[in-house]
């Protein structure tokens, strides 16, 4: 199962590497669930490009489609994969080397 975690984190980082996809996620975070048409109206991107990005974001689990009004699919932000990616970064940034240096220094002080 660990490689799946790796895969999820990788998909999240790939998804976040694109400024358009970041803009879509930011729009969903700011204003809540929206349809592709809503997003195309709000962002400087074509409806076709939006659809492509939405598909990738949905594959990464970052957004989830749900039934909206008038049988339009709208997309909702999912934060779980982002939290997973954050945890990946947290493990890298977790600073035991500096902490243990500080402990060594503290204990070496008479």
């Amino acid at each position: 199962m660990a490689p799946d975690l790796e895969a999820i984190a990788e998909q999240v980082f790939v998804a976040l590497a694109d400024p358009t996809r970041r803009a879509i996620l930011a729009a969903l975070a700011t204003d809540g669930p929206a349809t592709a048409t809503d997003l195309a109206a709000r962002l400087p991107i074509t409806r076709q490009a939006i659809a492509k990005h939405l598909a990738l974001l949905a594959d990464a689990g970052l957004i989830t489609p749900e039934p909206g009004e008038r049988r339009r699919v709208r997309y909702r932000l999912r934060s779980a994969p982002v939290q997973l990616a954050q945890q990946f970064l947290a493990a890298l940034a977790n600073d035991w080397d500096n902490r243990l240096d500080a402990l060594q220094t503290y204990l070496a002080t008479p």
Binding site: F88, A91, L100, Q104
Partner: protein
């Protein structure tokens, strides 16, 4: 196949003081605030709460898990980088071994690769079962069974 997702951090360091001094540095508010955080509080017993306040004012809640003076001290805590409502914790265990006049100190932090609870749905059910089992093992370990 090995994953690059780090679940475990392990460091070993040799300290010039004997285990009883290192123990005080690890398990008292005075010791912890001298090298780890700016301020610390600790109720030193399994299940006791502790807090660590870092430079900048951020405070992290901790739960004391193992107290076996002067050899093993362990706690769980929320990683500072995770959102406040994130329920996941990592487990940190310090092991102290006499080494001449000093101490061989080992710190192991595990649990970075826990899945968020919400992802255990249909999108990720491929690894759900195995992961649930692992989490149960971690929980049993952490609860000091």
């Amino acid at each position: 196949m090995t994953s690059q997702f780090p679940d475990r951090i392990e460091r070993t360091v040799t300290l010039s003081r004997p285990p009883r001094d290192v123990w005080r540095a690890l398990t008292t508010a005075e010791g912890l605030s001298a090298w780890f955080g700016e301020r610390a509080t600790i109720d030193l017993r399994p299940g006791g709460t502790a807090t660590m306040t870092f430079a900048g004012g951020m405070t992290v809640d901790m739960r004391v898990e193992r107290v076996e003076e002067p050899a093993v001290f362990a706690y769980t805590w929320r990683l500072p980088d995770l959102p406040e409502d994130d329920p996941r914790r990592t487990y940190v265990e310090f092991t102290l071994e006499p080494d001449g006049n000093g101490t061989l100190l080992r710190v192991v932090e595990t649990g970075f690769a826990q899945l968020p609870v919400e992802t255990r749905d249909e999108s990720y059910d491929s690894h759900g079962e195995g992961w649930t089992r692992e989490l149960a093992e971690l929980a049993a370990h952490v609860d000091g069974a």
